[in-house]
């Protein structure tokens, strides 16, 4: 029961914020790749930095321990290949999996078609799984799963670096938005 409530509440908040950011709109989402709308980078970087710094502080205060957190295993080849395909799918289809749900709920038929495609892609993968299973564990980096361990530096240093990078993204992004057609608004077609 607790699991149902936490899933529904956290998911609702996630969906609400994505919609408010304009991430149900494929024109806005793909504007990032045309470099005319940097909302995707700005929102993602801010959220990543906020969470990473927040997790670090909560660990320091003893509210949670790092080994309670799920860190995805370092199958870096699989992550790279999968990222490339999801990126291509985003650029062609206009959504990523999560944002297609947001697009659908704001009435977009193309988002419904994208979701059907997601299921078909999963069927295709499952059908080919016996032959391509090795792709899912491709390029394992066995020495570390996380950046601080891999580089032998503290989380604090990584987080400071990410804050600086995020500020850079905002400056560069806002400059490039001014030079181009600019961010897609809720009122543009």
């Amino acid at each position: 029961m607790g699991e149902i409530i936490s899933g529904l509440l956290l998911g609702s908040a996630f969906g609400f914020v994505l919609e408010r950011a304009g991430f149900g709109n494929p024109n806005k989402l793909t504007g990032q790749f045309r470099l005319s709308d940097w909302s995707v980078f700005k929102v993602m970087f801010t959220a990543i930095v906020f969470s990473a710094v927040g997790l670090m502080i909560l660990e320091l205060l003893g509210f949670l321990s790092a080994d309670e957190l799920f860190v995805p295993p370092a199958f870096l080849g699989a992550a790279a290949l999968g990222g490339a395909l999801v990126g291509a799918g985003f650029a062609i289809g206009g959504y990523c999996p999560g944002t297609s749900v947001v697009g659908l709920m704001s009435g977009r038929i193309d988002a419904a078609i994208f979701l059907i495609g997601l299921l078909l892609g999963t069927v295709l993968f499952a059908g080919l799984y016996p032959t391509i299973e090795a792709l899912t564990t491709l390029g394992e980096y066995s020495l570390a799963d996380a950046l601080p361990d891999a580089l032998h530096v503290s989380s604090l240093s990584i987080n400071i670096g990410m804050v600086v990078a995020a500020i850079g993204v905002f400056i560069l992004g806002s400059w490039m938005e001014k030079k181009s057609s600019g961010p897609v608004t809720s009122q543009s077609d």
Binding site: I4, G7, L9, L10, G11, S12, A13, F14, F16, V17, E19, R20, A21, T30, R34, S39, K42, V43, A47, I48, F50, S51, A52, L69, P72, A74, L76, A78, A79, L81, G82, L85, G87, G89, A91, I92, G93, P97, G98, S100, V101, V102, L104, M105, S106, G107, D110, A111, F114, G117, L118, L120, G121, T122, F125, A126, Y129, I132, S155, S186
Partner: protein, 175 residues
């Protein structure tokens, strides 16, 4: 007598810094409460297994990838299913309150024009297939994986944006 019609214009989107901070609050809360981040394709994979149970029960059970999920009973019985149902509800409430619900085929201007259904389907297939290779999507591996500073998360985001930028060059804009 003419009836005065009020045209309700959609509210503007949130400023990206505000949206990013609030998304960070949601993501951080998810880690604190569940120990893992947010996702999406964990659900669509389970949904595929669930549909397969009805349409093709024998081949779904026999499938090396989906079979395990069917064996446990209802493949949709997982936290991620509730989370994605939540995403749909939250998105609907937000879009409704901001007057942003409109039935339309969107995205054609930049993504194929009249061939928009084809680009949407093809994009979905690529993303669905790719997310299974990486065991995660932009939310599950990119966003949540980077928040715990994982190498896999950063690697995913790197190729995601590089290939997205590149492929985007080949999409023609309709004037």
């Amino acid at each position: 007598m003419s009836v005065k019609r009020e045209i309700i214009t959609p509210e503007p989107y949130w400023n990206p810094l505000l949206a990013g901070i609030l998304l960070g609050v949601v993501l951080l809360s998810t880690f604190v409460i569940t120990g893992h981040g947010l996702g999406a394709t964990g659900f669509t994979t389970r949904l595929t297994a669930w549909i397969g149970m009805y349409l093709a029960p024998i081949s779904t059970s026999a499938n090396d990838y989906l079979g395990g999920m069917v064996e446990e009973g209802n493949p949709l019985n997982a936290w991620i299913s509730w989370q994605v149902i939540g995403v749909a509800l939250g998105a609907f409430i937000s879009a409704f309150l901001a007057h942003r619900i409109a039935f339309k085929m969107d995205g054609g201007k930049f993504l194929g024009g009249s061939k928009r259904p084809i680009t949407a389907l093809l994009g979905g297939i690529l993303a669905g297939f790719g997310a299974r290779i990486a065991a995660g999507c932009t939310s599950g591996l990119g966003l949540s994986g980077a928040a715990v500073l994982s190498l896999a998360g950063f690697t995913f985001l790197g190729t995601f944006f590089a290939v997205g930028l590149l492929v985007s060059r080949f999409m023609k804009e309709e004037k």
